[in-house]
Chain length 332, copies 2
């Protein structure tokens, strides 16, 4: 069987371009002993992948030029030579950026019974949702009724951060990159205050939306957002550092916040994390999040591109604000 | 009785100058009912006082022009109208920057039995020592055997940080501002590696002194030191943010570290604090530190200026590197 796949053709410099990627066709072999063959249903594009396109030491090794990219994908088993996997089983793997694959089963999780669209397991009930969950509740040590600000609030992680915070009785502020996204945050996701960060001073918005200051700032963005938030934190506030999408395409290092010394007197905590630091909470997360999704307490938003040939555009779109909620590429 | 005292004559712009201060003579009244009259033995000058000379909101209110400054001082009771205080008692107060005072007893602590020079209760066994203790053990969550880097290592706080870390079986690196200080750190205080930060790249020194990286960076300095340390932290490293003396005299905000995003993948924690956030540990601290000082496990270093008229120079000297260990002004 054949499968189209996306290879990294050039390392992007600054904003990624379509020409940095190429579509190839691979032959997918029949599964050997202990292997399974999987047809991907949908694949994920995520901001962290930008970092892996740079040839440097990081928390995940860099992608190599000319090789097929990898990333989260949900698929269905079409042939199985492994006793634990049956035809039709949904599986979650890191073998995205391709339509199909044959592989040993290490690192591949059976989804079991699912309570939402398969693609939700790439988003709200998947890695971005768990990032929101552990970042807010563990790293951010959120307490009921606090005031929370999340940047990139219309994105895959931010949209879940805001909704979990609302579930916990918090006042929730969010920033996003367009008027439509701001309206969605307020009208559909229940944010108490939302603003377009292109529109005026971030600090002024924070003062308006949180007159008494911020207890938890969930940082997806870095740069100006971080500096403004530090300026408006309450004593003993926490800042989970989750991402810095404003800076991922920088070609030169960008100066950091000029007001870190504010953290001294206020006793602020800035703490970086990635979701895999909290793998021990995966079962708790899935149970909680499936419950919240099933009950309608958490809505998941998706932007869906169709076909592997559009995966590069979907990825690039993460940095131009093309997505509302989780960006997903449908491979059906 | 008369007492000389130091008033703030002008708010310093940039580096403080002698003319920003003036010496006046006050009359100290006899103590009224419930009051005590105290002759100060020694007073403290501390970097945090620079922040109070600026007219802005901070964790302590600003000093006012034309008023006598305040700060830590150890004195002896000369007249008492309070049943809990007797002539000759040593007391710790915030009525420094003056030779003597009369005051109600609120906010004045009797030292009780002392095991070291009175001035040690302004340093190793006082606020700077407790800052080191809570910053390293609580905020830094130090574990035995880790690798610790402290900047401003020859200062009142840094010199204690390094010695506590050695007590806990750690590898200890320190930076200071002169060859003499570096020699003192290595030869007298047992640092494993020390360097003059004027001498080459800080990051290169950290790589040499801690080939496997740093678990706890105790930041007294901010600026370049912080950026270099972030670059060389180990996974899940902690950075207590204690001070930013490199920046206290800046007249414009200075850009922060350009590599904060490194904290994400490594799961680093940067946490600001001031000693008063941990007042509940004061008794534990005094017991531990008096034990360590008595046993000789911790040495306290002091730089002593004589006479209230030299207090402004002592204070200014904090920013020019004039002190080794705690800067104290003798008022005997």
């Amino acid at each position: 069987m054949n499968s189209r796949a996306v290879v990294l053709q050039e390392r992007p410099v600054g904003m990624p371009k379509p020409d940095d990627f190429a579509i190839i066709t691979e032959t997918v072999p029949d599964p050997g002993e202990g292997e399974i063959q999987v047809q991907n249903v949908c694949m994920s594009v995520d901001p962290y992948m930008r970092g892996r396109m740079v040839d440097r030491k990081s928390y995940v090794p860099p992608f190599q030029i000319g090789e097929v990219l990898t990333g989260g994908a949900i698929g269905r088993v079409v042939k199985s030579n492994h006793p634990d996997f049956a035809e039709g089983d949904y599986v979650n793997s890191n073998w995205g950026w391709r339509e199909a694959y044959t592989s040993p089963t290490e690192g591949i999780q059976k989804l079991g019974e699912i309570v939402a669209d398969p693609s939700a397991y790439l988003g709200a009930i998947g890695m971005p949702g768990m990032t929101a969950y552990v970042g807010l509740l563990e790293v951010g040590a959120l307490k009921d009724g606090e005031t929370v600000f999340v940047s990139g609030a219309a994105g895959a992680v931010g949209s879940i951060v805001g909704q979990i915070a609302k579930l916990k009785g918090c006042r929730v502020l969010g920033s996003a990159g367009s008027a439509d996204k701001v309206a969605m945050l307020k009208d559909e996701l229940g944010f108490d205050y939302a603003f377009d960060y292109h529109d005026g001073s971030i600090l002024q918005h924070l003062r308006e939306g949180a007159p008494d200051g911020i207890d938890v700032y969930f940082d997806n963005v870095g740069a100006d957002h971080l500096q403004a938030a530090i300026m408006h934190m309450r004593q003993f506030g926490r800042i989970p550092l989750c991402g810095a999408i404003a800076q991922y395409n920088d070609t030169e290092p960008r100066p950091g916040p000029n007001n870190l010394a504010v953290a001294i007197g206020l006793g602020l905590t800035l703490r970086g994390f990635i979701v895999s630091h909290f793998n021990h909470l995966a079962d708790d997360f899935r149970k909680d999040m499936e419950g919240w999704v099933t009950s309608g307490q958490i809505k998941y938003k998706e932007t869906v591109y169709d076909g592997i040939e559009n995966a590069p555009d979907a990825f690039i779109g993460l940095f131009t604000g093309a997505n509302v909620g989780k960006m997903v590429v449908n491979l059906n």
